[in-house]
Subunit: 232 residues, 2 copies
DNA sequence: CCTTCCGATTGATAAATGTCAAGGCCACGT
DNA sequence: ACGTGGCCTTGACATTTATCAATCGGAAGG
């Protein structure tokens, strides 16, 4: 197991505070693998054998019930997913699939739990990460319960704009039908929602989006730091 | 600060593993207070000064945006809330109000963070609690995104039935308009949803609910352990 | 160049949900 | 006993969202 492969995760906030010995114990049974796009990495209900870390590419977390399916979030480098299941040694609540070709590090869950018990620095980092994840879901919950689909789309676009650098014109990074699932609506409805935002200062052609009237668009979207800020 | 007041929280999983010294440090600046019903304990956006623990009664966690309001969850004894905000020293994402007369313990957030840094046992317990909270929100998210309002109500009733002991007849524990908010619908719609479940084996009179045909009702609700089990 | 395929879009329609207004029921206090 | 107020329910209606079917358009491959 070449150390080099894990150099990039050694500096993650999650692992930065732990001792070299414990980090070595953590990666001893770990491995890094490259997956093509659209591979299902885990299925909800499976036991949580590995903590996953996205090194490059991106991963879609989704869930199914009664024949329906919904995207819950997207994991981007460099961060972990299903940490909570690993910690609790409980089954996954979500399935995961690669959205594009992705490099994923897999660390055996039992090693995570073992090191977690012996390394206070690591335990602290896990708490911070978990609290972050928790707050993200709460924000998603508020987004879903308090906003109409038009408002959700508008605020999503503002977040995406910021992530893309803040310019008036930027690209959607997901295919639209997945975006629809993330936003909790059907693809058809998303199409109509894009049209519905035109009077509020939006222009769309394909995956290229332009906020033509930033002030009016924000007035409509009413973004809130308690829902839309990724950092807080 | 009488120790007796904190005896009941000493045995909580969250505090069980920590040393007496650290527990004492934690409760030194803490206090227990009894609040009447319908008191707003915290407001979203406030800095997280205290970790709250519900000792008796119950607390509603809710959020507002643009004049709308939605209940996100209910906290019952004995458990904490806004642990994540405390840990990250970040503003509350939700507001909290008492649903009934309640006894609440308040522990200064900075003490929690300090002890957390020095007591590995406590840190571990915090992780477990946080992971639990996280998984609860994910389940709520799945409930909301994958189910119609009728299905959400049906599964809520099954969960409530179990909590009430499993008998065919049981009582709703919330007033219906709050239940509506929890389930993500309007009170009017909840009324109609109750009627819509009658053909599937439900009878309602006031707050008294009877599942008249358990098999048919479950067939309609299709409960899933990955959404409806509180424990996993 | 043409075909094929897949996602996006559009229109028509149905279903679900929200809104508004009115009325019923029940507990409470006078 | 009688108002009174709060909550729940009901009905009519508007809005939102989903569904179904058809079409458009670009990308990949022959």
């Amino acid at each position: 197991m070449p150390d080099s492969a894990f150099g990039e995760i050694r500096d993650l906030p999650l692992f930065a505070a732990m001792t070299d010995v414990n980090f070595a114990a953590l990666v001893r049974g770990a491995y890094v693998q490259t997956f093509p796009a659209q591979i299902e990495l885990i299925a909800e209900g499976d036991p949580s054998d590995f903590l996953h870390i996205v090194l490059s590419g991106s991963v879609d977390l989704f869930a199914s019930w009664n024949g329906r399916e919904a995207s819950l979030s997207t994991v981007r480098p460099i961060s972990t997913f299903i940490l909570a299941a690993t910690v609790r040694d409980a089954p996954y609540l979500m399935s995961a699939r690669t959205l594009e070709k992705s490099r994923i590090a897999l660390i055996p869950s039992q090693d995570v739990r073992a090191v977690f018990d012996s390394d206070a620095g690591f335990a602290r980092a896990v708490v911070t990460e978990l609290a972050q994840c928790y707050r993200s879901v709460v924000k998603a919950q508020k987004d879903l319960k308090l906003r109409t689909s038009l408002e959700r789309l508008a605020n999503y676009l503002l977040r995406q704009q910021r992530r893309a650098g803040g310019a008036a014109t930027f690209e959607l990074e997901h295919e639209k039908r997945r975006l629809a699932s993330v936003l909790g609506m059907t693809p058809e409805n998303l199409s109509r929602a894009f049209k519905g935002l035109q009077p509020h200062g939006l222009a769309v052609e394909g995956a290229r989006v332009t906020i033509t009237d930033q002030a009016e668009f924000r007035r409509f979207a009413r973004p809130s730091p308690l829902i839309d800020d990724a950092t807080t």
